[in-house]
């Protein structure tokens, strides 16, 4: 069954345990110029998740609040990266994680372009580079555990479970408590994702892309791909028809020309 994680932004205190756990579990490097926490942090080849600090003016009194946003791959239900990968290096596993298989990767980076959340990052400095992003700890999930990051969260900001359970918990939470914005980010965005967010401040202030299409991104190219066989066969038939027709016409013209020549010779 597909698993999901709920991120409750109101419960995050910015401790960074999740980001450290990710580095530990995936054996990722720490880089001085690429912090995993703070205002300047971002995802990159060695940062599969980061905790970004945002200072926001909240409410009618515009009081300044600190909020911490955990970023990582959202593991879409219908991932654009998997659809865009022409060698099937990205696949949505049935447990939920969108997993990367480096053996099949050609390094074309179309996945990076396709992702509506700009998640996949690249190892530009390596001679044999990989695409890097959160894998949602598929081996941990297979063993019945939760991903490393959700495991270590001290405040309960991250909840792991079956997708529909997690979605229900999100709904219950935002409906019971008036401080939450009445929106679950990831419920409909990009056709639905496995990582859902609830918050007490507007999502655009937290740096989320709020103009993401609700139709799964692959649907757009699917429609085009479905046309291909039809177009191909029709056009192919038309071309063959035209070719045969014109060759026949030339043959007839040649025959008549040589007949006339022969006639002339005879005379």
């Amino acid at each position: 069954m597909s698993k999901a994680v709920l991120v409750d932004i109101t419960k995050c205190v910015g401790c960074g345990s999740c980001a450290v756990a990710c580095k530990m579990w995936n054996d990722l490097e720490y880089r001085q110029d690429s912090p995993i926490m703070g205002k300047e942090s971002k995802l990159d080849a060695e940062n599969w998740t980061n905790v970004k600090m945002v200072e926001i003016e909240k409410g009618p009194e515009k009081e300044t609040v600190w909020r911490f946003v955990k970023n990582q791959c959202l593991h879409c239900e219908e991932p654009a990266c998997a659809s865009a990968c022409f060698s099937k290096a990205f696949q949505k596993s049935k447990d939920g994680p969108v997993v990367y298989n480096p053996t099949l990767c050609v390094g074309c980076r179309y996945c990076m372009l396709a992702c509506p959340f700009d998640v996949p990052k690249y190892e530009w400095s390596k001679v044999i580079p990989l695409v890097r992003k959160c894998q949602m700890c598929p081996d941990r999930i297979r063993d019945g555990n939760s991903p490393a990051c959700t495991e270590v969260c001290p405040t309960g900001a991250l909840t792991f479970g079956e997708h529909n359970q997690v979605l229900n918990k999100a709904r219950e939470t935002i409906n019971k408590d008036s401080k939450y914005i009445k929106h679950i980010y990831g419920e409909k965005e990009a056709g639905g994702t496995s990582w859902l967010y609830i918050s007490d401040v507007p999502f655009d202030k937290l740096g989320f892309r709020t103009d993401v299409t609700t139709q799964p991104v692959p649907r757009y190219t699917e429609n085009i791909m479905h046309l291909t066989p039809a177009v191909g066969l029709t056009w192919g038939a038309l071309l063959t028809g035209m070719y045969v027709y014109n060759r026949r016409r030339n043959e007839i013209a040649k025959e008549e020309h040589s007949k006339k020549k022969n006639d002339k010779k005879k005379k």
Binding site: M24, M37, N101
Partner: protein, 517 residues
């Protein structure tokens, strides 16, 4: 000719078709094979997590994660590379200090932290350490225009030696002074000086409260532990009137160096760079408190700060080692005059119960104008590592002085809750944020990780033994302090004393959402 041509044609056509057929078959096989070869190689997952995160799934756990540290925290810093998510920092913050987890979420615009640095002592890899200020101080020392003054807290002289291999509690006061002088400090003063001063000011305040001369409630709380003060500001701001208005000895000395000392020596106060060697990480926060610029107000230059830098015991050891100064081979040297004298009562400030004992000695003398009896020079009920200690001292002509002592904020909470309920029949309560008192401060050497009572007791015993050895054991015996009053302050809680040596507090209760009762 035609037949041959036709034969050729046939051959070419057949062989052509054969070739295409062969290629096609090969292609299809490869494609099927390729599509089925769903190599299960994955990226990531080659690392590890501590045991409590293995096979726990969504079961609850005792300790998960680590403490949040705000980006601008002046006292502590964390190197994520060294963090192994052992959870010790969280455990001490939550269970010993009762800070983490004692506020509701979401946070507002502050990470509730009292800067005590216990997390730095408990962190097994020292991923959390004090924020390093050694570069700042080295720079000042090398600046010929700066007159660099340093003061040393009592708790540091029974611990600094540990960084050089000496047994916990080894008394290295003289060597510490020698080391500081060799580092190039222009004047080396003793925080004990102002500890004595604090006793005189605070005992005076206590007596005024008891007599009703000032309209402030009892019990009075001590105010020299900046971690404790911040804790009170967060969680018990309603009890501010109980808090003594006295600054900590460090801050008192800071103010006096840039006024009293500067005047006496004819040095421009802006040229003075004032440093303190402290067992405490919260002191790095304390010097930044906006109101700690009394000397600036004195000179009408509000940008002048009373203190410029705090170095922990560990940082001092690092500086000495960098300069190849071996503490163990140094001779004993004396503090510089004017602000260098301290009594035994000042020395015991470093131990839990020490401030109380010294204050009791002082109060007794003030009230009775007599030397306190021997039991007040060894007030056992307030000594030791018990979480909450009580004592009752008979003061002739007044009655029984009831006092309490607690250390570690879990114990502090108990006492504060009692005060709130009106269940605290004391006149005076000593609060220390760190278990064991200052000798267990966040900046002390990590001679046991996590800190052990054995090391704490070694340091505490060393302090009390040193106090017992001293000729002067009461604050009012401090000649330099008396001179200070004579020449400068006039008397305790005088107008000038109020300006330079007393302070007020900031309500931080609104910086977080309190837990539902």
């Amino acid at each position: 000719m035609d037949e041959q041509f036709k034969l050729e044609k046939k051959v070419t056509r057949r062989s052509f078709l054969k070739m295409m057929g062969g290629l096609g078959l090969a292609g299809i096989t490869a494609s099927i094979g390729g599509n089925m070869a769903n190599a299960s190689e994955q990226t990531g997952g080659r690392g590890w997590l501590p045991e409590q995160y293995q096979s726990s799934g969504t079961w609850p756990a005792q300790v998960r994660g680590r403490v949040p540290i705000a980006p601008g925290n002046p006292s502590i810093a964390r190197d994520d590379k060294k963090c192994i998510l052992c959870g010790q920092c969280l455990e001490v913050c939550q269970k010993t200090q009762t800070v983490f987890g004692y506020y509701d979420l979401p946070i507002i615009d502050d990470i509730v932290c009292i800067n005590c640095g216990q997390c730095a002592l408990w962190c097994p890899t020292a991923a959390i350490t004090e924020r390093d200020d050694t570069d700042k101080v080295m720079q000042a020392l090398q600046d010929p225009d700066k007159y660099v003054v340093v003061q040393t807290a009592p708790a540091t002289r029974v611990a600094l030696g540990e960084e050089f291999g000496l047994a916990p509690g080894t008394f290295v006061m003289g060597q510490q002074v020698a080391g500081l002088k060799r580092l190039g400090f222009d004047a080396v003063f003793d925080t004990n000086f102002t500890a004595d001063l604090t006793i005189l000011e605070e005992a005076t305040e206590l007596i005024k409260r008891i007599k009703g001369d000032i309209n402030k409630p009892l019990p009075q709380f001590t105010s020299c532990s900046p971690g404790w003060v911040k804790f009170c500001e967060y969680f018990y701001p309603d009890l501010f009137p109980h808090m003594s208005t006295c600054k900590s000895p460090q801050q008192m000395l800071g103010a006096l160096v840039k006024t009293y000392f500067a005047k006496k020596k004819g040095i421009a106060p802006e040229k003075i760079y004032s440093v303190a060697i402290m067992p405490c990480t919260a002191k790095k926060f304390e010097i930044q408190r906006p109101e700690m610029n009394s000397s600036g107000h004195y000179w009408d230059k509000p940008s002048l700060r009373d203190m410029d830098a705090v170095l922990t015991t560990r940082e001092l050891a690092r500086m000495l080692k960098k300069k190849n100064i071996d503490l163990t081979t140094l001779p004993e040297e004396k503090y510089d005059p004017l602000l260098g004298e301290g009594t035994g009562g000042a020395l015991i400030f470093g131990a839990t119960g020490g401030v109380m004992e010294a204050a009791v000695r002082g109060a007794y003398f003030f009230i009775t104008e007599q030397q306190p009896p021997a039991n007040l020079l060894q007030l056992n009920p307030v000594r030791g590592l018990e979480g909450v200690k009580e004592a009752a001292v008979d003061v002739p002509g007044v009655g029984t002085l009831k006092v309490a002592v607690c250390h570690g904020m879990k114990n502090g909470r108990k006492v504060l809750d009692a005060v709130r309920k009106g269940n605290a029949p004391y006149h005076f309560i000593e609060f220390m944020s760190c278990p064991g008192g200052c000798i267990g401060g966040g900046g002390q050497p990590r001679s046991a990780v996590p800190p052990s009572d054995e090391v704490r007791m070694a340091r505490i015993n060393s302090i009390y033994q040193a106090d017992a050895r001293m000729k002067k054991r009461e604050a009012h015996e401090n000649a330099e302090v008396l001179a200070l009053y004579n020449d400068f302050l006039q008397h305790p809680m005088s107008h000038l004393a109020e300006e330079l040596l007393h302070t007020d507090y900031t309500n931080r209760g609104k910086r977080f959402i309190p837990l539902q009762a």
